[in-house]
Amino acid sequence: MAARVDWSRFWSLITSNSSLSALELSVKTAAASTALCILLGVPMAMVLARSQSRVIRWARPLILLPLVLPPVVGGIALLYAFGRLGLLGEYLEAAGIRIAFTTTAVVLAQTFVSLPFLVIALEGAARTAGSDFEVVAATLGARPTAVWWRVTLPLLAPGLASGAVLAFARALGEFGATLTFAGSREGVTRTLPLEIYLQREVDADAAVALSVLLVAVAAVVVIGLGSRRIKVGGASGWQ
């Protein structure tokens, strides 16, 4: 791919208005959906790792379903849930909230596909760490909140970091669900992958240049933030 790049025009190609706004939107939405993944995924992962309940065991495949679902299908599911005539969308519409084809929809679509990555990484870490350290902390007199902040979370930090990096990378590359559920409005829902796809029709050189840019961004994230930590396992990250 690097060989196909028109390096003389590379800078102007990636700094065009549409490219820059797509890049900015991609980074912002991926960051937002990573935050949302952490917010939703941490409790989910903890419950999956610690609960013995049969209901929870049945819920696990449901949470991990987006991992194997074609993103387009996920997008359609989201559209029927949050679209104007959707299951929840109807009520949201009545309340004056529109989600489909907005930046919020992009974040939702990205969260939908990247949540399982975070949950799997963190659940593995939580299982590996076990609950022995928490038991010891309790016998030392530490209250549950103190145990969470001073024992559980630090022990799971490596797992959480690797899960977050995976989720961010997946969100950054999200295409199918975004296109289906959020459409492709420049500056609003047109993320970098969508921009690349559109540019390919008009200007193949620009598409290649942007692809290289996306590779670079993904590489920076993965290498910089935690290729060392991308592994399933929590306490082992501290060994």
């Binding site: 022995d132 350290f133 038991v135 010891v136 902390a137 309790a138 016998t139 030392l140 007199g141 530490a142 209250r143 549950p144 103190a146 145990v147 001073r150 024992v151 630090p154 022990l155 930090a157 306490a235 501290w238 060994q239």
Partner: protein, 359 residues
């Protein structure tokens, strides 16, 4: 100083126990694996909720199933030291101990640092303060874990096989530290162990747990010299035969074997046990004659030559108790050409056998 009263019925683990620890006393809990020793400790620590029962530490009621009381583990002031030191891997040694001080006493950061330094010195680990737990040896980690548990200032300390898995020399050092901090400070503690040395050096009293029931309890010296339970006898390395009191200072077993011995006063009919040391047992291939002696025919189960003598262990007794043991010299073992599966006669002089009331 506060004592402990435990009464617990845990049906899922088939545990039904009842024992107390006097203020300042170290109680050793002995028993085979799976007898429920750890479960009993977990009930005291509030990690297992008994189906019925109560836990009292000093004047505080921590668990009372009839009143529906169940104080959370973190509010119990009951320390627990396990076989695995479980030092927090993300904290330094000093921070680990300070965690105990800060959580247990609600101390400030600064005060807990001072308490941590004090306890690290107590367990001879002051020089390890800045290390991360992964840089510690097993014995060092266990000493730090002890300092952490003590820094939380528990009213009762539960020790669940804290010396198991340590090298002999390291265990000895740790035992000395335990002796210092437990015996000197008069802190009530419950010690689960499989090691005779721990019991002899640390425990004031012993409780034997078998299949979830207390089968024996008493002062350490009494249990070790005159055990009344199969496990207690095996633990102390003493032979034990169960039966009922017969006539003329005898004990008659359920399978009509008669043991002559010396009565331990205060016996009036009912269940009794006869105990004698393996070194008092002589082994013969043919039935010996001339009898104020106790003679039994047994089948050898195994020979063990780890000590200075050869220990001949017979197969289990008819009631399932551990088989009788005899300690003989290596020469006589060779002369007799003993081997597993062989039928031999064990004889014991009657003055070597003491008969006690069973519990």
């Amino acid at each position: 100083m506060s004592g402990v009263e435990l009464r617990a019925l845990v049906e899922s683990r088939d545990l039904d126990v009842d024992f107390t620890v006097a203020p300042g006393e170290v109680l050793a809990v002995l028993g085979p694996n799976g007898a429920g020793k750890s479960t009993a400790l977990h009930v005291i620590a509030g990690l297992v909720r008994p189906d019925s029962g109560s836990v009292r530490v000093g004047k505080r009621t921590l668990t009372d199933s009839t009143a529906g009381v169940h104080v959370a583990t973190f509010d119990r002031r009951v320390g627990l030291l396990m076989q695995d030191p479980l030092l927090f891997p993300h904290l330094s040694v000093a921070a680990n101990v300070a965690f105990g001080a800060r959580s247990g006493n609600r101390l400030s950061r600064r005060a807990s640092r001072d308490v941590a330094a004090h306890w690290l010195t107590e367990v001879d680990a002051a020089d390890l303060a800045d290390r991360k737990p992964r840089r510690l040896s097993g014995g060092q980690a266990q000493r730090v874990a002890l300092a952490r548990a003590l820094a939380a200032d528990p009213e009762v300390l539960l020790l669940d096989e804290p010396l198991t898995g340590l090298d002999v020399a390291v265990a000895a050092a740790m035992r000395a530290v335990l002796r210092r901090v437990l015996v000197r400070d008069g802190r009530s503690s419950v010690l689960v162990t499989h090691d005779l040395l721990d019991v002899v050096t640390l425990a004031d009293r012993v409780v034997v747990l078998e299949a979830g029931r207390v089968t024996e309890s008493g002062p350490t010296a009494a249990v070790l010299t005159a055990p009344r339970s199969s496990f207690g006898a095996q633990f102390a390395g003493i032979n034990l035969v169960n039966g009922r009191l017969g006539e003329d200072s005898t004990l008659v077993t359920g399978w009509q074997q008669v043991w002559h011995g010396t009565l331990d006063g205060g016996l009036e009919g009912g269940g009794a046990v006869a105990t004698f040391h393996p070194s008092a047992v002589a082994v013969y291939r043919d039935e010996p004659h001339g009898s104020p002696r106790n003679t039994v025919e047994v089948v050898i189960a195994e020979l063990d030559g780890r000590g200075p003598a050869i220990r001949v262990r017979a197969e289990r007794q008819p009631d399932g108790s551990p088989g009788l043991a005899a300690d003989i010299t290596a020469e006589s073992a060779t002369d007799l050409r003993l081997g597993p599966g062989q039928r031999v006669f064990f004889t014991v002089k009657s003055q070597e056998v003491s008969i006690h009331p069973a519990r």
